[in-house]
């Protein structure tokens, strides 16, 4: 079942168009990776889907057209984004950050908060500290946990490994894979660390200067010599 269907997506900043008609889909329960060099439009793709920048084209989520929806409506529909550079609420405590994440829900989020504190014990230890005082890795964990507090069916993850120590990166991908496996959360992932991303991905897209130039099964893409050399570095 197709969960997210993007076609002919155009977006950019002011007069500069970055995406020139991007097409991609995410099926239910899938982890999909978007690979691409710096400036290819990976982050712009994520922002266009989450509604944080103006865009043109068709975006369908669970059968509903969301191409013209505002960012807060898209979260309500069930898509959560972990923005690049974390996007935590630095003046708020760790626990309040999670409460903000549960803003769209009508019920008491306490059980989910305890649960994420179990998954990320470091956050639990720092629950009353301001988010701004956390280390980069902890903030990234918090950003992911915050996004998951809305119980999304689709998680958009923009460069979650940016600036993190390798051991924390591995831990984070383990958690993302587990989330996908156990909860069935679909994940659309943009990642510089292509090797790790491809390990947990089902499918991948290759983005070059604002258009998709290749797509396919993650395993098949790994077997393609040209792609491997260009994006995976071996």
């Amino acid at each position: 079942m197709t969960l997210l269907d993007v076609s002919g997506l155009h977006a950019g900043y002011g007069p500069i168009e970055v995406l020139h008609g991007v097409d991609l889909t995410v099926n239910e329960g899938e982890v999909v990776v978007v690979l691409g060099a710096n400036g290819a439009g990976k982050t712009t793709t994520m922002r266009a889907i989450s509604g944080t920048i103006p865009r043109r084209g068709s975006i369908t989520y669970a059968g509903k057209a969301i191409g013209a929806a505002r960012a807060d409506e898209i979260v309500n529909a069930g898509i959560a984004q972990v923005p690049q550079g974390r996007g935590t609420f630095v003046d708020l405590s760790v626990e309040d950050n999670l409460r903000v994440g549960a803003y769209v829900r009508g019920d008491d989020p306490s059980a989910d908060i305890s649960r994420w504190f179990e998954v990320f014990p470091r956050l639990g230890e720092r629950r009353t500290q301001k988010a701004g005082s956390l280390s980069g890795g902890e903030q990234q964990m918090l950003a992911i946990a915050r996004a998951l507090m809305s119980r999304p069916k689709l998680l958009l993850c923009d460069e979650p490994s940016l600036g993190l120590a390798p051991i924390i990166v591995q831990e984070m991908f383990r958690i993302l894979a587990q989330l996908n496996r156990e909860e069935g959360t679909s994940i659309l992932l943009v990642e510089q660390n292509a090797n790790l991303a491809m390990e947990i991905a089902h499918r991948a897209y290759l983005l070059e200067t604002g258009t998709i130039v290749a797509s396919g099964d993650a395993k098949e893409m790994l077997d393609d010599d040209a792609i491997r050399k260009a994006y995976l570095g071996y």
Binding site: A71, D72, F89, V90, Y103
Partner: protein, 300 residues
Amino acid sequence: MIKDFLQYLFDGLSTGAIYSLIALGLVIVYRGTGHLNFAQGEMAMLSAFLAWWVSDNWLPIWLAVFVCAAFAFVLGAVVERVIIRPIGKRSVFAVGVAAIGLLLGINALAPFLWKVVFPEPIGSLFPKENTDFVTIGGAHWRYENIGVLLVMLAVAAVLFVLFQKTKLGLAMRAVATNPESAPLAGIKTGQVLMISWGLAAAVGAIGGCMVASVNGNVTSTMMLAIFFSATAAAMLGGFDSLVGAVVAGLLLGIIENMGAGYQPDIIGNELKGSLSLVIILVVLLFRPSGLFGSRRVERV
């Protein structure tokens, strides 16, 4: 000796409570949108005029205060939506200029709307007879002064609960710290900002009513000097701290009254307002973030 001290303290606490009310409004707006609302005092003045009009014609004065706070809430929300937001998209400085324009416009609007030139008498919110005071250490703490202080503390307490304990308050704090990411959590940023401005105006309106009640009248210039001292208080408190606004407002009120009382020839009533400005100058030299302001720490 102690009698004089207590007297200046009591008087200062109620002057300060009014500064705190206006400063609270400034802080709410600043936290929400990062703007200094120059029209905060004049919006309070317009609201006080409404309270005078309503209490003169229809309702008891206390009910009139609630009506005027509700009116101010709508006024603040409309100002945010119609003036501040569209202009803010272009430039922060333009918002400052627009707010100054609003200050001048409202200042002229109130006398125009009600066709009044001279101060109009308004009833008092608190017992105000010559005998309405408690005596502590020989000094008179007037019921009126106690009342103004209690109203301010009650407003501050309500704001604290709102910000710290409610979902709306959580959304307001989230928008204040990261307006770009707040929509990603499903928060309607625009709605939250309108509510922030409305809330700030309502708090200011209550301040305006207190001033009117203490002065015994409403007039278009009633908030001008108070606005400057309240701005000084907001700065001294750190501009993003509600506690700071309350404490710094009271502090400035006390300092002004003590200065005027102990140095009647050098400072007196004429110069006591400038005392606030000297104090914030000195404090900001050593603590640029104010007494309670958060120095933003962000690890990357």
